[in-house]
């Protein structure tokens, strides 16, 4: 594939920005995505090439503007759907349920 993920040699991305004393994860949701990746990889839901292929099929505009673990999230979702593990409707339904559980304040 030759798409936006294949960044070697591209121009215009600017300076490399580094973070001092960077934590391994920047948010709880990143930890969970990483954990789900390792967990579902270990159970054979996908292999590493399938995962990369799923990430490389992310909409190019979204790929550029989203963060690294969002790529992983979308990759996992694609593989889960394609593997028959879940459907988009189930995902939307569960999101709806979870959003109702949020504490009010």
């Amino acid at each position: 594939m030759n798409s936006v993920h294949d960044m070697g040699g591209m121009h215009c991305y600017g300076a490399v920005v580094r973070e001092v004393n960077e934590p391994v994860f920047h948010a709880e949701w990143e930890r969970r995505v990483f954990g789900m990746f390792i967990g579902s990889f270990a159970t054979g839901m996908f292999n590493i090439d399938q995962f990369r292929h799923a990430v490389e099929r992310i909409d190019p505009a979204h790929y550029i503007e989203s963060s690294y673990y969002e790529h992983w999230l979308e990759g996992l979702l694609t593989l889960a759907k394609e593997g028959g593990v879940l459907t988009e409707e189930e995902l939307q339904g569960r999101m709806q349920e979870l959003s109702m559980e949020e504490p009010q304040c």
């Binding site: 960044m7 920005v17 391994v24 930890r31 879940l86 995902l91």
Partner: protein
């Protein structure tokens, strides 16, 4: 979120993550307790201190260094470091005439067992796009100024092969122990974006 309301709806991403996890748990694809243990392992146990031990050992033990150069995966495993994203390793040696630096232009391939999970900059568009086109300029941004005559080799990692840089042993460290040497080795020196020095 700057728009404060009476309720704090979760961010769209957070909600998607929790929905996915909830469904994967329900369908018994993953086990939340296992996930917690795995994540904690990568946060606290697997990191660049592993790679530093490999480098220090190779500095003091020529036979080990030879094994590391001939069969990096096997030599690294001797110290107990192996597993996902480290199945096939190649160690590239910095010398007086060659400086090595690693990248994954396609995404984020990185030798987890020896370096842990990669920093954000390693996975970022600027590093991935530029290090292969203008390595000298990028290295200078990291404070690594190399003489013009020094050759730079950029190694593009992939899903099959992971590279680790074997940094040069700093001058003045002849009397240091292996453990003391390991403390000098930085993560970035094993990516190739740092040069080691010993100030005593």
């Amino acid at each position: 979120m700057t728009n404060k309301k009476h309720t704090h709806p979760p961010s769209a991403v957070d909600l998607r993550v929790r929905a996915l996890e909830s469904l994967l748990v329900e369908k018994k694809i993953i086990n939340p307790a296992t996930i917690d243990t795995l994540v904690e392992t990568y946060e606290t146990k697997i990191g660049p201190r592993n790679g530093a031990k490999v480098v220090a050992k190779a500095w003091v033990d020529p036979a080990y260094k030879k094994r590391l150069m001939d069969d990096a995966t096997g030599a690294i495993k001797e110290l107990g470091f192996s597993g996902i994203q480290g199945e096939d390793m190649i160690v590239v040696e910095n010398t007086a005439t060659v400086h090595n630096v690693t990248v994954c232009t396609l995404c984020s391939c990185y030798p987890w067992p020896v370096l842990g999970l990669p920093p954000v900059w390693y996975k970022s568009a600027p590093y991935r796009s530029r290090i292969v086109r203008e390595p000298r300029a990028v290295l200078e941004e990291f404070g690594v100024k190399l003489p013009k005559e020094k050759q730079i080799k950029v190694w593009d990692s992939n899903a099959e092969l992971r590279y680790m840089v074997f940094p040069e042993r700093p001058a003045g460290t002849e009397n240091l122990s292996e453990a003391e040497l390991a403390k000098l080795v930085t993560r970035d020196s094993m990516i190739g974006t740092d040069l080691l020095e010993y100030t005593g």
